[in-house]
């Protein structure tokens, strides 16, 4: 998630109070809406993204960076990738996952300037992680309400 949970809840509360509430005329529905806002405001400081999600991502990313560095053997690029991996903080899980995402981006850039016969195995190690992480993220995605959102 790019937006911190607190900012997401603040935005939802703003939308409900500023954009939705003025158009709700039934007293009962307005009461229910205020209750939703009240719940959200009180949840705001009690929530955090499940640590297990970040830990799984970080473990997979770290393994991919290790494999990429190993595939590059004695290349200087291997040392840079290993250095970025070592520099990632051990925790908290969200910070470690974010640091390893940045390390993956840097590793892709490092590999990109290498000849394909040198860089391709290392790139494959990283894209293997990207595929696995995408599937992990997708498993959490609920069916889209884009149609309803668009049509109102």
């Amino acid at each position: 998630m790019t937006i911190p949970l607190e900012a997401l809840i603040d935005g939802a509360v703003r939308t409900l109070t500023e954009a939705v509430l003025p158009d709700v005329t039934s007293r009962f529905a307005r009461g229910q809406l205020f209750a939703v806002v009240d719940v959200l405001r009180n949840l705001r400081d009690r929530l955090e993204v499940k640590a297990a999600l970040h830990e799984a991502e970080a473990a997979s990313a770290a393994a991919a960076l290790e494999r990429a560095a190993a595939a590059l053997g004695r290349e200087a690029a291997a040392a840079r990738i290993a250095g970025a991996l070592a520099a990632a903080p051990a925790g908290p899980p969200a910070e470690r996952a974010a640091a390893l995402r940045a390390a993956l981006v840097a590793a892709l850039e490092t590999i990109d300037v290498l000849p394909p016969e040198v860089g391709d195995p290392a790139r494959a190690a990283i894209t293997e992680h990207l595929a696995a992480q995408t599937m992990r993220d997708l498993a959490l995605l609920k069916p889209s309400l884009l149609g309803e959102i668009s049509k109102g």
Binding site: G11, A19, R101, V105, L108, E109, G147
Partner: protein, 345 residues
């Protein structure tokens, strides 16, 4: 709806028509995620006329906003056979609606959206696809045939023949990503690196709609089948490689749960029909580049919306839904780039 907004539109339209008008219906549209769109109907004497006002948002997906280029294009095309909405008026005067806006005539039809139905099927049945798909391909060819020099569209900035069209588009979206201030995900980084190495050359510089796809088509359902009555949302219009539009329209982003380009035609058939109608070549190398760039562009748009929401500059919660949609984008991007198995549907 805001009575004051209606009164302001009455004055604005009345002054331009030189006759008193009365707004009899005014509604904010929910379809557009970028500009603010107001659909309204006025009474002029005994006649009723439908209009659509497009206003710059305070913040949103395509910052920084400037409606004037698209207005100038739409205004110039108002007499063209292409089904673009005739667009008579634009103003920057903040006294009217606080922010710049333009007014176009309302065309008949409805906007099918790029989302699968509840049963998982796409928005069109086979007969509708067979009727509408070729119209969409031909209209795009017609759009690319517009003589932009004769129309005076040089103000859009013409790329030189060669790689400049591709490089300019890539740079434009990279700049938007950078401006969002949000981190580049590894899948996006992989795509950007690939795009930088594979920007193709072209000598064919045409008008490019920039957002030609399901969701921006107006369609009327008639006894003889569906008819394309409007091409909407020109805010990304520019000069460039016409295959950018072909790849965007065929992108997995807009297939609505079907395997078809904009839920209409198999992607290869769509490109072939466009090539036949335009007399141009659907070069696979260029199409491949713009197919990947489509994801870069979409992710850049989503990041801009998220940044606007995160900063509190917009309260539109629709911007926040992008945050959990990235895995879906990464899935389609991974399939397109080949690091995820399977073909994008």
């Amino acid at each position: 709806m805001d009575d004051d907004l209606g009164a302001r539109l009455e004055r604005f339209v009345g002054e331009r028509l030189g006759a008193p008008v009365r707004v009899i219906h005014l509604e904010r549209s929910t379809e557009g995620f970028s500009q603010e769109t107001f659909v309204f109907e006025v009474e002029v004497g005994r006649e009723r006329r439908g209009y659509v006002a497009k206003r710059e948002p305070v913040a949103g997906l395509l910052e920084p906003y400037d409606l004037e280029p698209e207005f100038r294009v739409l205004h110039a095309l108002s007499d063209d056979p292409l089904p673009s909405p005739p667009t008579p008026w634009f103003t920057r005067d903040p006294a009217v609606l606080e922010r710049p806006f333009y007014v176009m005539e309302r065309l008949p039809g409805e906007v099918p959206i790029p989302a699968a139905r509840a049963d998982g099927s796409g928005p069109f049945d086979d007969a509708e696809r067979a009727a509408l798909g070729p119209q969409v391909a031909r209209a795009l060819a017609r759009l690319h045939a517009i003589d932009w020099r004769a129309r005076g569209f040089q103000f859009l900035g013409a790329p030189r023949p060669g790689r400049e069209a591709a490089e300019h588009e890539l740079a434009r979206w990279e700049e938007r990503i950078r401006r969002s201030g949000l981190p580049v995900s590894p899948p996006l980084a992989e795509a950007l690196l690939w795009c930088r190495r594979h920007a193709p050359a072209t000598d064919a510089i045409t008008l490019v709609h920039g957002d030609y796809r399901l969701g921006n088509f107006l369609v009327v359902h008639e006894a003889g089948g569906p008819r394309l009555t409007g091409i909407l949302d020109w805010e990304l219009v520019h000069l460039g490689d016409p295959l950018e539009d072909v790849a965007w329209c065929a992108s997995p982003l807009w297939r609505a749960g079907t395997p078809y380009a904009s839920a209409l035609l198999p992607p290869e058939e769509f490109a072939a029909r466009w090539a036949e109608a335009s007399g141009r070549t659907a070069d696979p190398e260029r199409l491949c580049f713009y197919a990947v760039l489509a994801f870069v562009k979409m992710i850049a748009i989503m990041l801009s919306g998220l940044a606007a929401f995160r900063s509190g500059r917009t309260t539109d919660l629709r911007m926040a839904i992008f945050d959990h949609q990235f895995p879906f984008l990464h899935l389609l991007l991974g399939m397109t780039r080949g690091w995820l198995a399977g073909a994008p549907a």
